[in-house]
């Protein structure tokens, strides 16, 4: 071993500073049969971090359904792959960059986008669309505007430059995120179904090749940082955040796709969290081979870098590949053309060991199989979340004026227009964006065809807090519903589980409950999980975020001429409500924003009804019988009708509540599995729906320039628009 490695004395304290428990450190001693040196300790610490090992969540993740007739590749690779017909496959994944974005919002968010784009093109796909799910603290919190401004600029800065449209997402404010914002980024790419690239290294003797940016000292220990709670000093962790260069990533994207058009690549893996460590270990582990790296050959941005730093750097825009023997020159020419670094830094071996050399000396030697297989996996104790009580609609006060309550909802932090955000994203580059941000799901054309992909991200954390199982079901059901509402067939999903500290049984109970609910919904809706990410320890000084399992859904549209949008296109259409309404106000947005109460059980999700109702709606859209469609979610019927009217710039009238349902429960209840349609032949659609056991009722009609409710209450579309559009820009412009 070299002087550099030997110079640092390894103690249990140092191991603990690396985030390893005493038990984990003992396991390392056992695997190596000796004490690790500092480089090896770094490798173990990164591989066994929560971020890389999923040690707290793995037992639960295994319960999610991951197979289906369309699934080409489920979880475990860089991204999930599904068959979309015509010889094409969609490759997609969502990933969090929560901790770095809180510390340094612009670069944290930008590199989050860069990382997920790389995951997708590593598999041979050209990225075609990105989305993001954002959670910020209370608007009153002094850091919120700074974080919103930086995160949005960072997402835009990266995506706009690389030229992949950012087609939508969600942005929600709640005080539970004051100390831990969430930045989850999703990318979808398209590849030839028979040209997918995987990461399993093979062929002892084959060259291991490093391409992309040079390695610097940025992001060292990012994975470890993302695996611990924040304290008051979290901002001192800024040096662990990476710096993004979207221009280099654009070159890397084009160079990789150019090389992938040949047959020179055996395996490829991007360097994300834990950089060269996780990429080389994963490639070796998946291929059941060994890897020998000569670290002094790694292109370096700074002088004097140590093996420890080289193995743990999270410098961005880098890839590791195994090439077929003798193809180095051909590959090098492509990377020269794109002016990117290209270096053979090692080779595949049959030793089953990760051997690290530095100027000829061995500075690390770890058996790969135990490094991966012995990674800790915890069945952490968990407490089931106590059931919240259902709240009767009659126990919730009615508003003096329902349309004023509507205007407060639509003109408040939760439901106001997100235009200020998405106008900073190039959502049209690639010229295939068919439904831009603002609808239920974004739709992009599959280039050169008349078919399309629908994409959405969803989660309702206040439901998950009140009842994790129901909240987990609802998140999946809502994503499925949003895809259905544009006429798409939901194919598969990716998920990002954002929770607090899993070592606390209460938090573990939230995770377990949400995953249980998600798994049920995935099964009932034939909507498998093909990729995902887990972000734990989203806590500051003991305060956890709301449980936030974000679902990124992907759907297929066979004919772009047969889709639906939310905008009411003309006057004189009938509004038909699909799905049953009980007037559920527990855990509703109305209850929180208008009545000022955050309590109660969330609306139950009937998965059979969900499926029946959705299948009916999709069929009606495909038959060309739907002029506009919107799923009912936060704020219920009245919010949905108002959003459809605003989008189409045409007024609407809603009738009063049926039976003895209180008006505010009818208008603002959040019962699930519902859609509002604007149609020509309302009577026929109601009859057809009922014939298929789907509740349907005519609830109003389009026309005029105001929204009128139950004969009396009215607000002009102009006034509603002003309030809807005004909140976010005014908030961001506040002195």
């Amino acid at each position: 071993m070299t002087a550099t490695a030997a110079a640092v004395e390894i103690t249990p304290e140092l191991a603990s500073e690396h985030g390893l428990t005493g038990e984990e450190y003992a396991k390392i001693l056992d695997i190596l049969g000796r004490a690790p040196n500092i480089t090896e300790l770094g490798v173990f610490s990164a591989m066994w971090s929560e971020h890389c090992s999923y040690k707290s969540s793995k037992v639960w993740l295994k319960t999610l359904p991951t197979e289906g007739p369309r699934v080409i590749c489920g979880p475990g690779e860089n991204a999930g792959v599904v068959d979309i017909g015509d010889g094409k496959a969609a490759v997609f994944k969502i990933e969090s960059h929560n901790h770095p974005s809180f510390i340094e919002p612009y670069q944290g968010a930008a590199t989050g986008v860069g990382g997920i784009l790389r995951d997708v093109f590593t598999m041979g796909a050209r990225p075609v669309a990105s989305m993001n799910a954002l959670r910020f603290g209370s608007p009153d919190h002094p850091k919120t505007r700074h974080l919103v401004s930086g995160v949005v600029a960072g997402i835009g800065g990266y995506g706009n430059c690389i030229g992949v449209p950012t087609v939508g997402g969600e942005c929600v404010f709640h005080r539970a995120y004051n100390g831990n914002i969430l930045v989850n980024a999703m990318t979808v790419g398209i590849a030839d179904a028979d040209r997918i690239f995987y990461s399993a290294a093979a062929g002892p003797g084959n060259p291991m090749v490093y391409v992309g940016s040079k390695t610097g000292r940025d992001g060292i220990h990012g994975a470890t940082m993302a695996s611990a709670e924040f304290a008051e000093d979290s901002e001192e962790k800024r040096p662990t955040v990476q710096v993004g260069d979207p221009f280099t990533e654009k070159l890397l994207l084009e160079a990789c796709l150019e090389l992938m058009a040949t047959d020179a690549i055996v395996a490829i893996q991007d360097m994300g969290a834990a950089g060269l460590t996780s990429s080389s270990v994963e490639m070796a582990s998946k291929g059941g081979v060994g890897v020998e790296l000569e670290l002094d050959r790694v292109p370096m941005r700074e002088t004097g870098m140590t093996p420890y730093e080289l193995m743990l750097s999270e410098s961005q825009e880098r890839m590791l590949m195994v090439l077929k023997p003798g193809r180095e020159d051909e590959a090098r020419r492509i990377f020269d053309k794109w002016e990117l670094d290209f270096a053979v830094i090692g080779r595949v071996t049959d030793s089953g060991r990760l051997v690290l050399k530095f100027h000829g000396e061995t500075v690390g030697d770890i058996p790969v199989a135990p490094l991966v297989a012995a990674a800790p996996e915890y069945e952490r104790p968990y407490e089931e979340t106590p059931k919240a009580e259902a709240i009767a609609a009659s126990a919730v006060p009615a508003p003096a004026d329902p349309v004023e309550a509507l205007a407060r909802l639509l003109g408040g932090p939760h439901l106001s227009s997100r235009r200020w955000i998405w106008e900073q994203y190039d959502h049209m580059v690639m010229a295939d964006t068919v439904q831009p941000p603002g609808g239920d799901a974004a739709v992009v054309r599959i280039h050169g065809s008349g078919r399309g992909l629908a994409i959405t991200t969803d989660a309702t954390p206040r439901y998950c807090l009140a009842d994790p199982v129901e909240g987990g079901r609802q998140a999946v059901a809502e994503a499925w519903r949003n895809l259905t509402a544009v006429g798409a067939l939901p194919l598969a999903l990716t998920n990002n589980l954002n929770f607090g500290n899993p070592e606390k049984p209460r938090i573990m109970g939230q995770l377990a409950g949400c995953v249980t609910g998600m798994a049920e919904a995935c099964r009932a809706l034939d909507f498998p999980v093909v990729s995902g990410n887990v972000s734990l320890y989203n806590e500051t000084s003991g305060e956890a975020i709301l449980p936030t399992p974000v679902i990124g859904g992907l759907g297929l549209i066979e004919d772009l001429a047969k889709t639906a949008r939310i905008e009411i296109p003309r006057e004189g259409l009938e509004l038909v409500l699909i799905g049953a309404t009980a007037g559920w106000l527990g855990a509703s947005l109305y209850l929180r924003e208008i009545a000022g109460r955050e309590e109660g059980a969330p609306p139950p999700v009937d998965l059979e009804a969900e499926r029946r109702n959705g299948d009916l709606v999709r069929g009606l859209i495909a038959a060309g019988r739907v002029a506009a469609c919107h799923d009912l979610a936060d704020g219920g019927l009245l919010v949905a009708a108002a959003e459809m009217a605003l989008a189409g710039d045409i007024g609407a009238t809603l009738d009063g509540a049926p039976g003895d349902l209180p008006l505010h429960a009818w208008l603002f209840g959040e019962d699930q599995a519902r859609y509002l349609l604007a149609v020509e032949d309302g009577r026929a659609i109601v009859a057809d729906a009922r014939a298929q056991d789907v509740p349907a009722v005519a609830v109003g009609r389009s026309g005029g320039d105001a929204l009128t409710v139950a004969g009396g209450h009215t607000i002009s579309i102009g006034e509603l628009r002003r309030r809807h559009e005004d909140w976010l820009p005014s908030f961001m412009a506040r002195p």
């Binding site: 600029a153 221009f247 654009k250 070159l251």
Partner: protein, 224 residues
Amino acid sequence: MRTAVIVFPGSNCDRDAAVALEAAFGRAPHMIWHRESDLPALDLIVLPGGFSYGDYLRSGAMAAQSPVLRAVREQAGRGVLVIGICNGFQVLTETGLLPGVLMRNAGLKFVCRDVDLIVGTGDSPFTRAYVQGQRVTMPVAHHDGNYYADETTLDRLEGEDRVAFRYAGREANPNGSARDIAGILNERRNVLGMMPHPERAVDPLHGGIGGRALFEGLVEAVAA
């Protein structure tokens, strides 16, 4: 009917431009890499949108120094049609083929939205299929689109009927451009620079076809 799209490292609307050209001309354009210094004989050259060389200096400044731009300048001097869209417009001002500069947007933020434009002149190969005063919609997507030139230059552009497109009034102006200018011609009227993206408005699925007449006009102009 020989068209070309110049591809810089960091261009990202090169494919979009190529798709629009192929749809209009019935033939795919040449895609020309930035290191080329000899160009084939061409009728039309497109400098596409994107972030050439990352635009880490002023937008378009590095591209203006590239080998291929010398060849483009030479062809423009011979009367070959050249259109620079978005980053391409920035490149054209940086090379001096068009006057003025494109500064950071007045709002300081990237802006991507559909904007209403007024056709400033129908008297050019690029705008011949439009009518002067016609209102058309195209998207913009840029951070540095705030057109600026001194008053004498602006007066001259207007006096010589060289404003090809304007934003339809102050409300529609997304970036603070002087006199709402969205696109300008050179003196000889064979070079156009514009911030809006006509290639993103040629297909009904784009939500509008306000850019289609530009390509149709070019087909007529090249055939003539």
